[in-house]
Subunit: 411 residues, 2 copies
Amino acid sequence: MIKYEGLELVSGGVCAPKGFKAAGVHCGIRKNRAKKDLAMICSDQLCDAAAVYTQNLVKGAPILVTQQNLKNGKAQAVIVNSGNANTCNADGEAKAAAMCEIAGKALNLPEEDVIVASTGVIGQVLELEPIVSHAEELAKALSYEGGHDAANAILTTDTCEKEVAVRFELAGKTCTIAGMAKGSGMIHPNMATMLCFMTTDAAIDHEVLQKALSTVVNDTFNMVSVDGDTSTNDMASIMANGMAGNPLIDSVESEEYELFREALFAVLMNLSRMIAGDGEGATKLLECVVTGAVDTQNAKIIAKSVITSNLFKCAMFGEDANWGRILCAIGYSKADLDIHKVEVILSSEAGSLQVCKNGAGVAFSEEKAAEILKEEEIKIIVNLGDGNGKAVAWGCDLTYNYVKINGDYRT
Amino acid sequence: MIKYEGLELVSGGVCAPKGFKAAGVHCGIRKNRAKKDLAMICSDQLCDAAAVYTQNLVKGAPILVTQQNLKNGKAQAVIVNSGNANTCNADGEAKAAAMCEIAGKALNLPEEDVIVASTGVIGQVLELEPIVSHAEELAKALSYEGGHDAANAILTTDTCEKEVAVRFELAGKTCTIAGMAKGSGMIHPNMATMLCFMTTDAAIDHEVLQKALSTVVNDTFNMVSVDGDTSTNDMASIMANGMAGNPLIDSVESEEYELFREALFAVLMNLSRMIAGDGEGATKLLECVVTGAVDTQNAKIIAKSVITSNLFKCAMFGEDANWGRILCAIGYSKADLDIHKVEVILSSEAGSLQVCKNGAGVAFSEEKAAEILKEEEIKIIVNLGDGNGKAVAWGCDLTYNYVKINGDYRT
C-alpha cells in the first residue's frame, strides 16, 4: 500500500465513510456455494453520484441501465452480481432494470437510485430467480461492517479482495473516501475500468464529482493492463453522501477539490496496483515509470506499451533481463521519441541496475539482474531525455496460469 | 497449402525459379552445432529487387544497411544469420555493412548488391568471426538444390521450414515465384514482416515489383499476429532475375502485372498461414474471416482485433466456444460497425456452427462446438451486414509453451 502525506489509511472498505452499509451473500448464480455472488452497498442518505464506463462498443446491459439511472447525478445503492456478465443477451437490459427494481423494493427506495453491475461470462442468459429469492436476505444482511463481504462477492478469478480507504481533513471536517474493486482478466481499461465501487462521506456536487473521477481514472485504472483486452462491463462508480458535514464542494477551482482529488487518487492508485498484481495467473506486479517524454500523453503511450507486451511479460515471469523487448515495445508504441536517447533501469527491493543507455545495451551483471527480478514487485524505469512528460503504468507477468485460467473459463 | 487456379505448386523453395542458388550452414553464432545459423541466396544475374521493412521505431541495423543497398532497386544476393538480431548495438550498422562486404567478396560481386538480415536476441554484440571464417564454405555450398538448407538456417524458435513456390504462365513464358520465411515470436507485422526472402525469374521492373510487394504484404503478412509484438527486424525482400524470358513487366496497368501479383499473393498467403500456424507454442492455426464490413479497412481492423485477443487465443487453446470474447474483441477494435447485427460462426473440417446472431447468443450444441474446436485449423467467420468490406487475418492459440519459450529465451 502506497501512503501519502496528510492521508491516513483506514480499514472497513466501502463502509469506512460515515453512513454506508454493505453486504455480500451467495444467491446461486454461481454453482459453488462457498463463493458469494451478490453484493449490495446502501447509503443512509441519497448521494451525489458519478461513474465512468467501458469504451468497448459492446456494452454490458447493466451499464446501459446505470447510465440511465445516473442521469440526474443521484444514487443511494449499488447491486452487483458476479458469475454472469449479463452482456450480449437479447433480454439483458430488461434483466438489469429488474435487478434495480428488486433492490429498490428490498431497500424501500426508488429503482432509479440504484447502480447495477454484473461481471462474469458473456452471452449466458442471467436467471433472476436467485436474485429475487435472496434480495430480502441481502438487505437484512447490510451492516456498517459489511464492506469486506461485499468486496468478496464481486470477485471472479481474483485471488483476493481489493479494498482501500483513506481519511483526511476537509475544511476542518474528517472525510473518508473508500473503494472496492475486482479485476483479474479482460483488464485493459479505456476511459473506464473493471468494476470499482467507491463511497465517500464528503459533500461534493455530482458534476464536480464526475470531473474528479474522470480525471483520476485516467491516471490510475486507465494505466493498468493485465491482458490487453478491454472488457464490455468495465465500470467505476462513486457515491458521496455528504455525512462528513464539510461545506459542499461545488467547484473544481477550490482547494477542497484538490484535497478531495488527491485522496481519490490515493485510493484508485492503490486499487490499480492491487488489480495489476492480482492479474490472472500473475506472480509479479510490474510498474513502468516513464520520465523525460515529450509530454504526458507520449509518456502514457510508452508506459502502457511496455506493460502490455506479451513478450516482455513472459520475460518477467522467467525473471530474464531481456531488455531488448522493452526497447521493442517502446519502438512500436507509436509515441514521439528519440530512440537513441533511451535509458532503461530495472529496479526492485533488491536494488537497481541500468541495462540500456543511449538506446544500446550496457554491460551488466546477470547475477545482479537475477536478484532484482526475483522480487514480486518490479519497477521498469524508462528515461527518455526528450522533455518533461512522465507517467506510470501497472501490469503483471504472463504465466502458465493465465493460459490455464483462460483456456477453460466457462466450464 | 491453399491452391489457386492457374497456379502450380512446385518444390525447391527459393531455388525453384531459374538461376537462383542457395545454401545454409552452421557457422557458430549459435552454440548448438546441430542448428544451421547462416544462409545465403545468390542469383546468376543481377536482379530488380524490392523490400518492405518493420515500422518499429527501433530498427535492426541490417535493415538500415539493406535500405541503403536497395536504393537503386538492384540486388544479386542475400546473407542472413539467425541467433543474433544485431539490433540496439552501438556497432550494429558497421557489422551489418561488414556482412555485405564479406558476402560480396566470397561471391565476387559488389557489396551494394547484397541484402543483409539478422534475427535472434536483441542487444547482444554480433561477433563477425564465425561469419568471416565460414563465408567461403557457404559460397561453395551454394547450389540449385540448396533452398531447403537456406530455409532451415534462418529459423529461430520456428518448428519447421516455411517455403512456397508457384509456377504460372506469363505472356507464354513459364515463370516461378518462390519465398522462404521465418516467423514464430515477436510477430505482429506492420507494413512489413518477419523475415521473408522471395525469388522470381520473372522480368519485372523494380518500381513495379515494389508496388506489387507492398500491396500483397498488406493483405498477407500484415494480417498475421502471433503475439501482438511488432519486431524490430521484420523484413520481406524479393529479387527478380528475369531469366524466365517474359517481356519486362514495367507497368501496374498490364494484365501481366495482375497475374504476377496474384501469384505473389498465393506465395505470401500460404507463408502467412505457415507462420501463424507455427507461432511460438501454437497448437492451432486460427483464421478470422470478416465479411459485410463498412469497408475493407474496417474489416481488417476487426479481423486483426479478434486474432490478437489473448483471451480469445486462450479459449481456442482450451477448445472452449467462448464466443463472448470474440464479441468483446470486435467491440474494442475501434472499427465502425453496428454491434446488433453481428453474426459469428465457428468452422473447421468437422463442420460449422452459428454461436451468435444479431449480437446476442443463440442456443448451440456444446458437443458440436467441441468437435469443431478439436481440429488444428479453426475458422472464425464474422458477418457484419454493414456493407461489402471483407478481410482475412491469421493467428494462433496462446499456450503454456508460448509462456515457456518466452520466459527463458535468452538462456
